[in-house]
């Protein structure tokens, strides 16, 4: 280890993480100069919300060892709940624009949606995963993955069955003229989406670092047996983890309702993107997922800008495949042991 900051900074730049981040920053700046600051703004807003979804995904894999394929469905639940909570309030807000209530009611809808996601997470763990865990832990990763595939099919089609396939969207949460930042006009909803994401990421990070429970979660992700030995209630932590990560996804879905109207498979796109992030950053690496989210968001924004919309799955996935060939554990390394077959 070197104590010389210059040397360690150079080392960092030469590492995969350093290289990728520096390249991403350069690309973002170049594109911003070329096409205008809205590139940066779009990246930041998309990346913020994506980081919530990806963080949950990384958490569930890191702590519970479940490669969650149904994560997008909790995003969908978030949009759905927010829609049904917010729509009745709409009339009231229209009459009382500019009041404190009008500013707070959307928050209520988003928070309720997040809580609903948490409750769904609890149900999922109790009804599905705890049953599998009781019966067999053999071949766990694959079995749980297939379970989540089934779960995803069920949730998507339950939505279709009960609420139909039409788009359930809103015009916007917060009324008023768009804000002007760096000469770009951004709608209030987008600003708030970013602010909310930033608040959640920070709160989450503080929770994981400084609270007893947060440390217990990290402990479980690093060594399950070790966690049991020191007296951590494993089942409680697993339940909490699932619930939290689903709540994060639902919260993200609710905050983005103005962009993604609720329909059965609305969760697929965030799911793909979040998986890109998680694989890119290293499975189970929660903080890496936050940085990775911004990189993937940038990739998406740049692809749409320079190549055209519809390519946003092609270019990032090809790039990520290339990165994976050289760095299979992701650019920030994975906290999970044995990504490669040892």
């Amino acid at each position: 280890m070197s104590n010389n900051p210059t040397v360690s900074a150079v080392e960092w730049f030469k590492s995969a993480a350093g290289l990728t981040i520096s390249l991403a920053v350069i690309a973002a700046l170049a594109a911003t100069i070329d096409r205008g600051p809205y590139i940066l703004v779009n990246t930041v807003v998309t990346g913020g919300m994506l980081s919530l979804v990806a963080m949950g995904l990384a958490l569930v894999f890191g702590v519970m060892n479940i490669p969650m394929f149904a994560h997008g469905e909790y995003f969908m639940i978030g949009t759905l709940v927010a829609y049904y909570v917010f729509t009745p309030m709409n009339g009231y807000i229209d009459q009382h624009t500019g009041t404190l209530a009008a500013a707070l009611l959307p928050l209520v809808a988003i928070i309720v949606a997040g809580l609903a996601g948490g409750v769904m997470g609890v149900l999922t763990e109790k009804l599905v995963f705890s049953n599998l865990r009781k019966r067999s832990r053999e071949n766990w990763v694959m079995n749980s993955f297939l379970l989540t595939v089934g779960l995803s099919v069920v949730l998507i089609n339950l939505h279709q069955l009960i609420f139909g396939t039409e788009f359930k969207g809103i015009v916007g949460y917060w009324r008023g003229a768009p804000l002007s930042i760096m000469d770009v006009f951004i709608s209030r909803d987008r600003c708030m989406a970013f602010v909310l994401a930033a608040v959640m990421v920070t709160a989450f990070w503080l929770f994981m670092t400084y609270t007893r429970t947060g440390r217990a979660i990290r402990a479980v992700s690093q060594d399950e047996t070790g966690a049991l030995i020191v007296g951590i209630d494993l089942n409680g932590i697993l339940l909490l983890t699932m619930s939290m990560s689903c709540a994060l996804a639902a919260f993200a879905g609710a905050s983005l309702l103005f962009m993604y109207p609720s329909y059965p498979s609305v969760g697929l796109e965030p799911l793909y993107m979040a998986w890109f992030v998680v694989i890119l950053a290293g499975l189970g690496n929660v903080l890496g997922a936050v940085v990775g989210a911004f990189i993937v968001a940038l990739l998406k924004v740049l692809t749409v800008e320079y190549i055209g919309s519809g390519w946003e799955f092609v270019v990032p996935s090809v790039l990520i495949i290339i990165i994976l060939i050289f760095k299979p554990s992701g650019i920030f390394g994975s906290e999970v042991r044995g990504i490669l077959d040892k």
């Binding site: 990290r218 047996t225 070790g226 049991l228 030995i229 020191v230 007296g231 951590i232």
Partner: protein, 235 residues
């Protein structure tokens, strides 16, 4: 009796390893469990620690049954298990690991006291408090695992192969620290490969072979027992 293990059968899946293992430990004793590889020593400790559910039999701790309780509940009762694999939290620092050991201790002041106690015992850990557990040497990890086990002020410590893979000098340190621990009133159950040394330091011992308790008695008696001498000491 602090710990009573009554006729437990245990194993992994369909593979039964322990057959009617019974043992008792009194408060303040320093007891060892020795036996050849694969005899079921670690399985015995894991079963007591609640990491394996016994198929039959009963385990009493301080008079209360703890049979089949999950590991975390057993830990909360005051049994601390230091596993052979150590099960450290590799991406946490030494100090964080130690604090995790005191997870069940809610009192901040008590946590700090325990931390000072462990740092006192292993000054090496104090030097490395900011280092990630995963980047330490084998001996240091062992110390950390034992230190973490002490953090909860356990009544009973189950220590699995503390000297395994350690340099002789470090082995001494580990045995010394167990001695200090024992003098501070902690009951210890030790599983060791180093039979000579173990029988020297402990009060009593059990000999486990093929999942059965073959012999039990004072360590000094065991050390002179012809069977033990033949099987373990090669004399």
């Amino acid at each position: 009796m602090l710990l009573e293990v009554k006729k437990i059968d245990a194993g992994y899946g369909f593979l039964q390893i322990l057959r009617k293992v019974s043992l008792e430990i009194d408060k303040g004793e320093y007891v060892c469990l020795v036996g050849p590889n694969g005899a079921g020593k670690s399985t015995t400790l894991k079963t007591i620690a609640g990491l394996i559910k016994p198929m039959a039999g009963e385990i009493l701790f301080e008079g209360h049954p703890i049979t089949g309780l999950p590991g975390n509940k057993v830990a909360r009762r005051g049994i601390s298990y230091v596993s052979e694999e150590m099960n450290l939290f590799v991406n946490m620092t030494v100090q964080e690991n130690l604090y995790m050991g005191a997870y069940t201790v809610r009192d901040k002041k008590l946590q700090k006291e325990r931390l000072d106690f462990v740092y006192n015992l292993f000054p090496r850990l104090a030097e490395r408090r900011g280092q990630l557990a995963g980047t330490m040497s084998g001996g240091e990890r062992k110390m950390l695992a034992i230190g973490r086990g002490m953090m909860s002020s356990p009544t009973l410590m189950l220590v699995d192969e503390p000297s395994f893979g350690l340099a002789p000098q470090l082995t001494e340190t580990v045995f010394d620290s167990l001695e200090i621990l024992r003098n501070s009133g902690v009951t210890i159950m030790l599983v060791e490969q180093n039979v000579t040394k173990t029988l020297e330091v402990t009060d009593r011992g059990y000999v486990l072979e093929n999942g059965r308790i073959q012999l039990a008695g004072k360590s000094s008696d065991l050390a002179s027992d012809p069977h033990v001498r033949k099987v373990f000491l090669g004399v």
